[in-house]
Point group: C2
Chain length 229, copies 2
């Protein structure tokens, strides 16, 4: 398997976590999507990462589509460790939260922070590069507080975010938060429940490779890789 | 079943088409999401339509989550008429295009046109109402041409958008286009293949209720409800 991804892309991180939880080890290929490489456009006309290419050559694009594909192929064999729960009502809740983080949180928080602070460093001017837009960063920081409260509320009332079981919902939330956390933009002190839940997810072996990645010239926030932050 | 929806909301239209294809007839409840009604927020904290409430009271929010739910509950029994195909590769393609229209086309085209031209009429100033933003409309119109070309290319090389079978991909594409088409913002003359494909979808019985809906004070474009446009 090959996974086209980008460092600190929250959707790529989510898929890497999912694959690691199922002990799948794809070859990782970094793709600078803003270059719009013709060979990559042929794999995914939307020109976004992640794209998973399976052993038979099927290209599976996007976090949501990949997570359904992985569940169909590997979910049942995982038994109790399956990341999509067995009942209809539980699956609705996992998918609802997955969309919450992969679409809503991304649009309101993580896309702005990662694009303004990280990707723009690598883009040429004509690809959208340049200095960070401080109003986009300000808006994202205001939104992250609201989201953190919601995560705290879920974590307080349930064992994991979507219910009793560890699921895709925990991985998508943690993936998006981890990119923001590297940048020091998650006010963990504001919500003890959210912080404790994140510490539990972060200490899983699947998280380790992500926590060791860094950006040249941009050090991680103080407690980013600290498991007892 | 109850379906909370909004007239001309492309995601609501998609779900209505899916339900109609499966001969399911939910009670339709219009929800002005910008009012942020507390009872509706309890059903869907994201405060978006559509939300399907099933017979057992489970609230299923959002086009993507609803389409997976409907497939799990009614797909197999539909046999040849199932809207999600049976093989892994085909399902990837249907889901890819479903995300294409429900996320990408929405963000680039249909959200702007419907919000600026329709919803703003019903919103108070503090809810985001006001005169339409002409630069948002201009951008959406430029984007719709690109999308129409892509749809035409798919329709030319395949029987239906995702392959041999009529699927969710056709319904999501047609749902989003239909809202734009009411407003006269789809340049059908630019692509014969896209036009012929849309004429086939539009003439299905599931489409009939949508084509008869109108907005007071805003007449539909000339050929909107015309099956041989």
């Amino acid at each position: 398997m090959e996974l086209y991804h980008q460092l600190f892309c929250p959707h790529s991180r989510f898929v890497r976590l999912v694959l690691a939880e199922y002990d799948l080890e794809p070859e990782l290929i970094e793709e600078a999507v803003w270059r719009r490489r013709p060979e990559f456009l042929a794999l995914n006309p939307a020109c976004t990462v992640p794209v998973l290419v399976d052993e038979s050559g099927i290209a599976v694009p996007g976090a949501t589509v990949i997570s359904e594909y992985i569940d169909e192929r590997y979910g049942e064999a995982a038994g109790e460790k399956r990341l999509q729960p067995p009942t209809v009502a539980e699956r609705v809740e996992v998918r609802r939260l997955n969309m919450w983080f992969n679409v809503k949180f991304f649009a309101e928080v993580s896309e702005h922070l990662v694009r303004e602070k990280i990707w723009k460093r690598y883009m040429r001017a004509e690809e959208g590069g340049g200095p960070p837009d401080s109003s986009a960063i300000r808006a994202a920081r205001a939104n992250v507080s609201q989201h953190l409260r919601y995560i705290g509320w879920l974590a307080k009332s349930r064992n994991w975010l979507a219910g009793d079981r560890f699921s895709y919902a925990d991985l998508s939330a943690a993936a998006h938060l981890s990119s923001c956390d590297y940048l020091g933009d998650v006010p963990w002190q504001d919500d003890e429940h959210a912080k404790n839940w994140y510490a539990r997810v972060k200490s899983r072996p699947s998280f380790r490779p992500l926590l060791s990645e860094t950006i040249p010239g941009l050090a991680p926030a103080q407690n980013y890789a600290d498991l007892d932050f």
